[in-house]
């Protein structure tokens, strides 16, 4: 009597055996076992019959559609040689030799260090030699000339002669002269001498900057340097003593020699 167990749907645990049985790839022991089960289980018998029907449908489809098709012409480009084993082995050989080259060993490390030392020493030697040659060239001034732009004339620091200081010195000499010559005239001269007014700082700067030698110098050409010089000149002028600022008792009562000579001429 056959079992009719409809609850199970996987060949009662014989799914793989059922497929193998269907395609005839089941071994004898499993085949006997499965056939015995089929004789007892109606569900599995029904299943295997349904599967055989499906299989025949697929085979029909194949025979109707595919079997009548001609095989395609497969054109293999035999001229283009595939990458041969020999080539592959050669490339492997190169790869292995490269890897061996970069593998570490005490001898290789020592050789590498020695090579580095020799290389560095050679490099330093070459640099030193070239540097020595350069200095020698400089000394001999033969081929290697360092061109440095130098001014054609020496920069002459303008000598600042403030008129006030000049006047003081002149006044002292004049006073000596007047003391020696005539004291009475001195009184007269004192009465006649006009007060000397010192020139303004702007005028002094103007007069100081006028010389031709300075105009050609780099300091003058460079507006920055010129500005610095002007500032220095102005500062020194400011610091210089002024006749205007002299005390009352130190008032300039001297007479210039030119004025005296002029007076003598008129007389």
């Amino acid at each position: 009597m056959k079992m009719n167990n409809n609850n199970h749907n996987s060949f009662c645990g014989f799914a793989e055996d059922a497929v193998a049985y269907l395609y005839g790839e089941i071994d004898e022991t499993q085949k006997a076992k499965f056939e015995k089960h089929l004789s007892l289980c109606s569900h599995c018998e029904e299943e295997i019959t349904a599967f055989a029907t499906v299989r025949s449908s697929v085979l029909n489809w194949k025979s109707e559609e595919f079997d009548i098709l001609a095989s395609p012409v497969i054109d293999i480009p035999f001229g283009q040689m595939p990458k041969t084993v020999e080539n592959f082995e050669i490339s492997r050989f190169w790869l292995e030799s490269l890897l061996e080259l970069f593998s570490f060993s005490p001898v290789k490390v020592a050789a590498a260090c020695a090579f580095l030392v020799v290389g560095f020493s050679l490099m330093f030697f070459v640099f030193d030699f070239s540097a020595g040659n350069e200095f020698a060239d400089l000394k001999n001034n033969n081929s290697f000339v360092i061109e440095v732009e130098q001014p054609t004339e020496n920069i002459v620091e303008p000598e600042i002669q403030t008129p006030a200081v000049e006047k003081i010195a002149e006044r002292e000499t004049n006073a000596k002269i007047s003391n020696v010559e005539n004291k009475s005239e001195e009184v007269f001269v004192q009465a006649k001498s006009p007060k000397k007014v010192s020139p303004s700082p702007a005028e002094i700067v103007k007069t100081q900057n006028t010389p031709n030698r300075l105009s050609n110098s780099p300091a003058v050409k460079n507006p920055k340097n010129t500005l610095i010089k002007q500032n220095e000149i102005e500062a020194r002028i400011q610091q210089a003593p002024r006749l205007n600022n002299l005390p009352e008792e130190g008032e300039d009562r001297s007479l210039r020699l030119a004025d005296l000579l002029a007076d003598l001429d008129t007389e």
Binding site: F66, L69, P82, N87
Partner: protein, 192 residues
Amino acid sequence: MDKDLTDEQLVEIAVSENPEAFGEIVNRWERKIFALCYGMLNREDEAGDAAQETFIAAFRNLANFRGDAKVSSWLHRIAVNQCLTKKRREKTRSETFLDEEKNEEEKFFVAPVNQSPSNSFEKDEKTLAVRQAINSLPMELKQVVLMKEFEEMTFQEISDALELPLSTVKSRLYTALKQLRMKLEKTPLEIV
């Protein structure tokens, strides 16, 4: 070329001595590879292209062939990959859903080129139903069915080709047959 040589020996000769030894491998396997490609792509021209590309790819990579696997398994793996690539390209080519729907309709209603008008209506319908049922299977089930039915490969050969355990191949085939049975039983033809 000596017909008694195994596929593996032919590959060795092709690599080391004579590349034309690969031609014998082509003769041995072209029909089966073409069958697999046809089953997966359902179009003669595309299946032919896929088979051609499979053998060319194999020839160009002969040096990379591992001796531990069978040449047939290797060829099948390449063929499956070629078909999957073609299917993916086809999928990306179809820009809109409407295009895909149209293709499906074409597949369903347009008979193959080789089919003559004299065939009976019932036969056509059965063939179409089976084709549609197989096309609707997932790829991993479909390729097992095609290898078994179209190429008549053994379970062990399928296992080698797909690099799957033997039990997995059998269970996949069981699942595939079960789904095919259900699909074919649902078709109106069966009811009629």
